[in-house]
């Protein structure tokens, strides 16, 4: 049996979990085994309706009032106990913050190896997996051993594929035998006050600055462009390290990963750690003095020149057009 650990909000599986179900279904078919799923937390059983379109034959849901709050060790205890009883060949979860954390605890508890952030999985005695390193800038082919293969699936490694034919999903409640230690870490959500600002993660346009912006004050022209376009301001790690911008603005492997319609990279060289954060953008416009900078290679559009000089004319032109003047025809 292939067991998919799905994350859900009140019984509605997350998009990443649908990706996991799709990959788990492919594995189950390749291995000639049934596909089952496990859901933790309130209303897990309600996921059955959607799971029937993904070829799932049974949904296990942990039923315990203490599972209302997220407690990573308890969640892992539930999954490991189910795995001990049901003896699946594979347990696969998402590589989300939670999914990755829970699966790491499952692996530790079961004393089994685990491969994180897989993009491709080929079953066998040992599994051959392809997994992401450096935030996906580099791939590793690896052999994964263990009596149960434990895996997390990299986000967006594939698109969810629901099947037109529906399976009958048997729902099975189970009550794990928790101990007190399982609840030493419990999370309480803290909702932030809405600041009214467009968040980096949601903006359609992100104007992002690197060392080439010149100074903290130099970001004024980026702020202006972002506000003219209704976008948000981002930055590179170099800028955060210099203290010019807060870390919450940072785009990249150790910052925020974004997928705007347009990413305007101003004075950013384009190191791989940065590109990991912005390569999902539909279009990239690079503004850089150096035509040989890696960012120019990876961009769709580029302006070669000093950030401040370029933005001065760009901002002026946008204001002119917004004021109703016709755009000048390019020479």
């Amino acid at each position: 049996m292939v067991l998919a650990f799905i994350e859900h909000v009140a019984g509605s599986p997350t998009k990443l979990s649908l990706e996991v179900l799709t990959m788990a279904g492919r594995l189950a078919r390749a291995m000639g085994q049934p596909l089952e799923a496990v859901a933790i937390g309130p209303k897990g059983a309600a996921a059955a309706g959607i799971l029937s379109s993904y070829g799932v034959s049974a949904l296990h849901f942990a039923d315990d009032p203490r599972l209302v709050e997220y407690a990573p060790t308890a969640w892992a205890h539930a999954i490991a106990e189910l795995a001990d009883q049901a003896n699946p060949a594979v347990v696969i979860g998402t590589a989300s913050d939670r999914g990755g954390e829970v699966m790491a605890h499952v692996a530790a508890r079961m004393t089994l190896p685990m491969a994180a952030n897989c993009t491709d999985i080929v079953p066998g005695d040992a599994f051959t997996v392809t997994r992401q390193r450096w935030g996906g800038s580099l791939l590793e082919e690896a052999q994964l051993k263990g009596r149960v293969k434990l895996l997390t699936l990299a986000p967006h490694a594939l698109a969810p594929e629901a099947s037109p034919s529906r399976t009958k999903v048997v729902t099975r409640a189970f009550t794990p035998g928790f101990d007190d230690g399982d609840f030493r870490v419990r999370f309480v959500p803290q909702v932030e006050a809405d600041t009214g600002k467009i968040s980096l993660a949601q903006a359609r346009v992100v104007v992002s600055g690197g060392r080439g912006v010149g100074s903290a004050e130099g970001f004024a022209s980026l702020e202006e462009l972002a506000s003219l376009l209704g976008g948000a301001v981002g930055c590179s790690r170099a800028v955060t390290s210099l203290g010019w911008r807060p870390h919450s603005d940072q785009v990249g492997q150790t910052g925020t990963r974004i997928a705007p319609d347009l990413y305007i990279a101003c004075g950013i060289s384009g190191a791989i750690q940065h590109m990991v954060g912005c390569r999902a953008a539909r279009h990239i416009l690079a503004i850089n003095t150096d035509p040989a900078a890696p960012i120019v290679d990876q961009a769709d559009y580029a302006v070669i020149g000093d950030v401040q000089m370029v933005l001065k004319t760009v901002n002026a032109e946008i204001r002119r057009v917004k004021a109703g003047a016709p755009s000048r025809t390019p020479a």
Binding site: E101, N117, R133, S137, K145, A271, G305, T329
Partner: protein, 254 residues
């Protein structure tokens, strides 16, 4: 309070990764090395905590002899002691790495050194296994929180905060505990010159753990296939205003 920080030596990659001809490693002939970013912040956090609450700090790494550079970098920021789990340069998987670290922590305990906090980065920049901290916590039966962005210590408890898609979540955890840190929890200081000189003279304690097969073996590294595309140069310096506006209009962003 006594704090142990685990760090990792990783290549300081820039614009493009090049592999060695056998596909086993990143070609580092023209690269420097650095401490993996999340762990740089774990080091800074440990130094701040001992500055505030007293106690001692130790940095640990599993890696080749050259990783002494990164241990000294951590000591230059204010960590007192360093422990090298010296390898022969082969890669250790997460199971092997965490078991060697657990053995080192147990040996420390037998020598009378116990830790209130064991800190790691959320994941290393290079191999990114996302599990060493959790495995160490599990083996030592300690509570564990991964990916924290804020930490406060009060009366033997750690108040931690981490970011979620919709805001924040908080937990209140008894010490001793294992915490893994994400960049952004602090802004690491630059090492001072006296700090560097002091770190240079310090002893590095060494353990030579035996390599073990943890069950996840690298076969080869591969570069992802890049979709070939061309870049359109819109202009130079001050002459690009109209072209950029045209582009924004074409993309329906203006």
């Amino acid at each position: 309070m006594n704090i142990l920080v685990g760090i990792k030596r990783v290549p300081a990659t820039a614009g493009q990764i090049t592999l060695t001809p056998d596909g086993q490693e990143i070609d580092t002939r023209y690269l420097g090395f650095t401490v993996s970013p999340h762990e740089e912040c774990a080091v800074e956090e440990a130094v701040r905590l001992t500055e505030k609450h007293g106690g001692s700090s130790t940095v640990l790494t599993l890696g080749p002899e050259a990783a002494i550079d990164q241990l000294r970098d951590a000591m230059a920021l204010g960590i007192e002691r360093a422990l090298l789990l010296e390898t022969d340069g082969r890669e250790w998987d997460p199971v092997a790495t965490s078991s060697a670290i657990v053995e080192a922590i147990e040996a420390e305990r037998n020598a009378g050194r116990t830790y209130d906090l064991v800190m790691f980065g959320n994941e290393s920049a290079d191999s990114a296994g996302y599990q060493v901290g959790v495995r160490v916590a599990d083996a030592l039966d300690l509570p564990c929180v991964t990916g924290i962005k804020a930490l406060e210590i009060n009366d033997g408890r750690a108040m931690v905060r981490r970011q979620t898609e919709s805001g924040w979540e908080v937990a209140d955890v008894p010490l001793p505990a294992v915490l893994t840190v994400k960049e952004g929890i602090n802004l690491p200081r630059y090492p001072s010159l006296p700090g560097r000189l002091k770190a240079k003279k310090k002893d590095i304690e060494r353990i030579k753990p035996e390599w073990r097969d943890g069950g996840l073996q690298k076969v080869r590294l591969k570069l992802p296939v890049q979709a070939g595309h061309t870049v359109e140069i819109l202009g130079q310096d001050g002459d690009a205003g109209t072209q950029v506006v045209e582009l924004l209009q074409r993309l329906r962003l203006l």
